[in-house]
């Protein structure tokens, strides 16, 4: 059912990013931060987090909603990095080895996640959300108890004072910004990490190419209508699992890229917020649980991080309290997702009602 292209239609379908842009237009001057600084921050954050958000696209394509299970991929990437640091590897090779180690872990975790999601059809988002929490428990068990005791860690600096268990935060002096600095171009006094963006572009190309392959088309069919896809002979369950595995893999690499930019791993915290923030960013970019494009990713990361950086200062200047600004930022982060989901649900009902009205009028 094609809708006439109208200004009102465009406004409604892009409501969330527009609301966000309006919010930003208000908050940016309020924060008192310079455009130069903001631009530089945004470029850094785009390079850092875009890959993570990209990982969300494929499950949406396959009709599995927003994959909170990307956290599992982030965990796999972190385990890879922890091991790499323990083995004393640095530089670009370190990132590659971490990715190499994280890959089988991601595939395993992705398979597990996809399998459970298949058992919970229709409730994928909540289920993947809980899987994220559950796996966090397993991850903590692995890193806090197994590593250093059952799994030998040779570098004592990584361990807690009690003798086993990985430390809460680790610096990555030999890995910090390795990818970013590989080829960096200086424009207007800002460092642009060319290779990082090249890697992100490569994954974008991959996603576009993938959508065109047979498996990609299968996923799209499964996403549109499981029963029809099944009737057409597509192995629905396997396809869905494949979507999650790919998503987990991309999240794994994305987390490695993100951490190399930061230069520090918060062993037990880094991955927790990854799911919430990536999904919030995607939603801000105008995506929904049924439709997500690459444009949504970049627009979303930009707007979300803009809000993220600007809120505390704006809150402080507006309300006189930096702590308030911090809570304000958290409120907006969660509120975005709530508002997006609500708006989208409202839109869906609106469309269904309109369609029903249309059908009824046609009958007469």
């Amino acid at each position: 059912m094609k809708q006439k292209y109208s200004f009102k239609g465009a406004l409604i379908s892009n409501l969330v990013p527009i609301v966000f842009l309006a919010f930003a237009a208000f908050a940016v001057p309020m924060s008192g931060l310079s455009i130069q600084y903001l631009l530089e921050e945004m470029i850094t954050r785009l390079a850092r987090d875009s890959l993570l958000v990209l990982s969300l696209i494929i499950p949406v394509l396959a009709g599995m909603g927003l994959n909170f299970g990307m956290v599992l991929g982030a965990m796999a990437g972190q385990i890879g990095l922890v091991l790499v640091v323990d083995w004393g590897i640095g530089g670009m090779p370190a990132l590659l080895v971490a990715a190499l180690v994280g890959t089988p872990i991601s595939i395993g975790l992705g398979y597990f996640c996809g399998y459970i999601l298949n058992l919970a059809k229709g409730r994928e988002m909540v289920t993947s959300y809980i899987i994220g929490f559950f796996m966090n428990g397993a991850y903590q068990f692995l890193l806090l108890y197994c590593m250093g005791s059952i799994i030998p860690i040779s570098n004592p600096e990584l361990l807690l004072s009690r003798g086993y268990g990985i430390r809460n935060s680790m610096d990555l002096p030999n890995i910090r910004q390795v990818l970013d600095r590989l080829v960096s171009v200086n424009i207007f006094g800002m460092n642009i990490p060319i290779v990082t963006f090249a890697v992100i572009a490569a994954f974008c190309v991959f996603i576009v190419w993938f959508k065109g392959t047979k498996i990609g088309q299968d996923m799209r069919a499964v996403g549109r209508n499981r029963a029809v896809a099944n009737g057409a002979g597509i192995p629905v369950e396997k396809t869905r699992i494949m979507a999650i595995i790919i998503s987990t893999l991309i999240a794994c690499y994305g987390q490695i890229v993100s951490l190399q930019n930061l230069g520090t791993i918060n062993t037990y915290n880094s991955h927790e917020q990854v799911g919430i923030f990536s999904i919030a960013a995607l939603l801000v970019g105008g995506a929904t649980a049924e439709n997500a494009s690459i444009v949504n990713v970049f627009l979303g990361v930009f707007l979300f991080h803009l809000m993220f950086v600007v809120s505390p200062m704006a809150g402080k200047n507006l309300l006189g309290d930096a702590q308030l600004g911090e809570y304000f930022r958290v409120f907006v982060s969660y509120g975005i997702i709530a508002v997006s989901l609500l708006l989208h649900a409202w839109k869906k009902r609106h469309e269904m009602l309109e369609r029903r009205l249309l059908e009824n009028s046609v009958k007469e």
Binding site: W87, G88, I89, G90, L96, V97, L100, T103
Partner: protein, 127 residues
Amino acid sequence: MNVKLRRNLLRVALCLIAVAGGFLLSLVGMYHSIILDNSEFSSAGAVLPPLEGLRVLSEAEPVEMSPDDRILVSTKGPSTTLVFEITSPETQQSREISYTLHMGFKKQFFLSVPAIVGGGKNPFLVE
């Protein structure tokens, strides 16, 4: 069966390549700490005194080492070449000695400079 077999062989081959690649990358990216020691070195028979006017040139900036001094050198990669320049205080003549160390996967090395300069076979103080 042919297709299946071929596919599985391909998968095994790819896994092996990945693991081999991992090893190679680790070798290339491994960071090693080398501690150079300039104190008296004694081994079977020979006693080599600490050196005067010793400079280590293979770092970003040349580092001077006085007798009984120790410095830490951090390098990356499977092997490294250390260059020492020794200036005799009397004659003001310098000579350069190069020493190549193959490190492989080991991460810590403890070397005695007098032993290296003196052409000794085993400059390792601690294995």
